[in-house]
Subunit: 139 residues, 3 copies
């Protein structure tokens, strides 16, 4: 069994942002030399997500609006978590709804994707450096 580990770093200009990281994951897979296996991609921070969906700007606006409606950033006093001095209680909820991680099949050395699947980093408490982990195992 082979394994490969890589980190990606992000610092988004906005509190909420969606970044397509498919090419970076493909590059990590190529480096790994793994032909058949599983590829885990996860946010290493608890106010961020990794998820798979469409690379379409309107959709990302829809996600942002939906999440903001369910768990609004303001008023920050609405979240008990913010009594610790944080202001990101909403971001911890948004991240749970969008998910922490994806597991992607590796087949013939490629990410085994349907026609529109793309991997995104979802940031809900941005404007500081944060990481994504890629771990690939297989042969």
């Amino acid at each position: 069994m082979k394994s490969h580990r890589e980190e990606l770093w992000f610092e988004t200009p906005n509190r909420m942002d969606f970044i397509n990281i498919t090419q970076q994951v493909e590059a990590a897979l190529a480096k790994s030399g793994i032909q058949e296996g599983l590829c885990l991609v996860n946010a290493m921070h608890i106010t961020a997500s990794v998820f798979i969906n469409d690379d379409e700007r309107g959709l990302h606006s829809d996600y942002a609006r939906f999440l903001e409606k369910l768990a609004p950033h303001e008023p920050t006093s609405a979240y008990q978590h913010n009594r610790t001095g944080e202001d990101n209680g909403d971001a911890h909820i948004k991240r749970q709804l969008m998910g922490r991680e994806v597991v992607v099949a590796v087949t013939n050395g490629a990410l085994d994707f349907g026609p529109w699947e793309q991997i995104f980093y979802g940031e809900f408490d941005g404007r500081r450096r944060k990481r994504v982990l890629i771990k690939i195992i297989g042969e």
Copy 2:
């Protein structure tokens, strides 16, 4: 390490539907000959889910009503994604809430399940042919 890959195809009669695929996943596992490992089952389309829960018709109605309340199909103009000519903006949100994939432990050649766990394909933009991927790795 062994690996096994299989696709399942669906075309549901309704926009939203839940289909129990546990037996098909068990059949794929039997074919693989894998005794110990991990089994990934994921939707290959971005308006569909694979999830694990109970095979109970009332529960599935509850899921449908809950999702429709949070992200209603109508009015389709409420979603910026639909400006691309699509009418499935709601389905992209429903799929995120229910999840893209499950990872199931394989132990002694069987899916290592609790008493009520069953695997479902969740469709949110049906009436066309769509796929699920099964990828099993182990020994």
Copy 3:
């Protein structure tokens, strides 16, 4: 390839509860002797979750309030699932929102975590004995 399987048992005093199980998962990993691989941790019951987030009491209150608002326990007659004689229709929805499982990378014999990642058992229909499965594969 090595594999290791372990079950954790819980009986929470409340209907809804969040329990940090990171140390138990680390202990299972140490027993496995696996240095590089993937660690799956999943609820074996369909009204419970395993998820990764912060070990902060205020945040857990925020999660509980958010979930109760979206899918309130009362009135139990609001859920078709409860016509089966159950009263946990809400718990099946809460569990889907928080997720069934996490997959964690194993690197150098440790859970490969960001600074604040902790693994939680999330219970939404407690006061009876229920299980979590840990399955680790690798080398």
